[in-house]
């Protein structure tokens, strides 16, 4: 599929989820688009849609390694709650991006690409270079970890949400 400027907002959102930082996302996004423009002008074949996300992914990973990084460790996991959508409604996009960007690779990329809701399963597997089982496990554990974080950040009691004070 050819890439037009219509696809670019999603690419920026992906960079933002991957880095959790607007400046870093902007840098990764701009470098990717410039690289695509250079390739198009040269003898190389024109980049396709997946190329943009592949290129941006590695740029974001490299940028993420430069700053302060989350300490590796086992995150608590709980089952998804029926009230989760209402809890998520209370979040700011930046909070979600911070949480996703703190996840270890390749879970971070898997979550960022999956929640863009842009790609088919086959495209996701191609982008992430993994099997369906691996992707499924990363997404499922990501959900449970996020639910745990949600519960500790935004509690929900019978229709009313209360900030748990950890956002």
């Amino acid at each position: 599929m050819a890439v037009t400027t219509k696809n670019l907002p999603q690419l920026y959102r992906f960079c933002f989820l991957m880095t959790g930082d607007a400046a870093k996302a902007q840098a990764a996004f701009q470098d990717t688009v410039r690289e695509a423009a250079t390739r198009s002008e040269g003898d190389e074949p024109p980049p396709d849609r997946l190329w943009f996300f592949r290129d941006a992914r590695w740029r974001c990973v490299a940028l993420g390694e430069q700053g302060i990084q989350a300490e590796p460790g086992m995150l608590e996991e709980v089952e998804i709650s029926a009230t989760a959508p209402r809890q998520i409604e209370q979040l700011e996009p930046a909070q979600l991006a911070l949480w996703v960007s703190a996840a270890p690779e390749p879970q971070r990329s898997a979550l960022a690409l999956f929640y863009l809701d842009e790609f088919s399963l086959a495209e996701l597997l191609s982008l992430l270079e993994m099997k369906a089982g691996e992707l499924s496990e990363l997404i499922c554990s990501g959900r449970r970890q996020f639910q745990s974080w949600l519960d500790s950040t935004i509690a929900y009691y019978e229709g009313e949400t209360f900030d748990a004070g950890q956002g």
Binding site: T5, Y12, S40, P85, I88, L96, Y115, L116, A132
Partner: protein, 254 residues
């Protein structure tokens, strides 16, 4: 350990997309109508809420400017040098050159054609496929056969030109051809040459224009030198090229 369907459900698409494979569709359908419908429903609602939040990620004004610029990613324009070097283009060009060459050759060949050239070519195929046993044995000078053709077959002006009148014959026959009509065929000792005499072809205006010079036709390794007198064509046919016949024609001129 989760089965394949459960693994697929773990990464079930958030919104319906075209191109979802059959295994995934089946897994989703079963989950929606099975025991785990509630759990799967929670997962779908959870994913939809996060996807909605992702779509709400604001795009910086500075970045948004990039989206407006349609020329950001230039369309690749292939230079003519690159196009010329493409093997596919080279192959097509070669094929066109060959086809063009064949067409040009055919056109050039037909420009030189005279009325009756097609008949002459047809008789070259007869000459190439015949054996001398088909002919009535007759050993004489080729020039002496005019009387025979007239007396026996009532073929007027079926005369062998002077250039070839002294050639010794092996045999002769007269036959009817669907296209050429009455044909006299003479087999010569010299280099297995064959002579053909046949009615001339009228031109587009319906006129028969004799020609005293020699005109050549070629087909599958055989060459015929044709002249036309009194409404009758004479063709000397030989296996070989025009050069092989030119020798006889020039010899007589001297």
């Amino acid at each position: 350990m989760p089965d394949k369907a459960e693994l697929l459900l773990g990464c079930a698409p958030i919104t319906e997309k075209s191109g979802i494979d059959r295994a995934m569709r089946v897994a989703i359908q079963r989950a929606r109508h099975g025991k785990k419908a509630a759990t799967f429903g929670h997962q779908q609602a959870f994913d939809a809420a996060i996807a909605k939040l992702v779509r709400a990620i604001p795009v910086d004004a500075q970045i948004a400017e990039w989206f407006v610029n349609e020329n950001l990613i230039p369309v690749v324009r292939h230079g003519w040098k690159k196009i010329v070097r493409n093997p596919v283009v080279i192959a097509i060009a070669t094929a066109l050159l060959v086809i063009g060459g064949v067409v040009a050759y055919r056109v050039h060949e037909h420009l030189k054609d005279f009325p009756g050239a097609d008949k002459a070519r047809r008789l070259l195929t007869v000459g190439a496929s015949n054996r001398s046993v088909l002919l009535d044995p007759l050993q004489t000078d080729a020039g002496a056969l005019s009387d025979l053709f007239f007396m026996k077959h009532r073929l007027e002006h079926y005369d062998v030109p002077q250039e070839f009148a002294e050639f010794k014959t092996l045999g002769t026959r007269v036959f009817d051809d669907d296209e050429v009509r009455r044909v006299a065929q003479i087999w010569i000792k010299e280099k297995r040459m064959q002579f053909f005499l046949f009615p001339a072809e009228p031109d587009k205006q319906g006129k028969i224009n004799d020609f005293s010079d020699w005109r050549f036709v070629e087909l599958e390794g055989w060459t015929g030198a044709v002249t036309q007198r009194n409404g009758v064509c004479f063709m000397a046919a030989i296996r070989g090229g025009e050069k092989d016949l030119q020798g006889y024609l020039e010899k007589k001129k001297q």
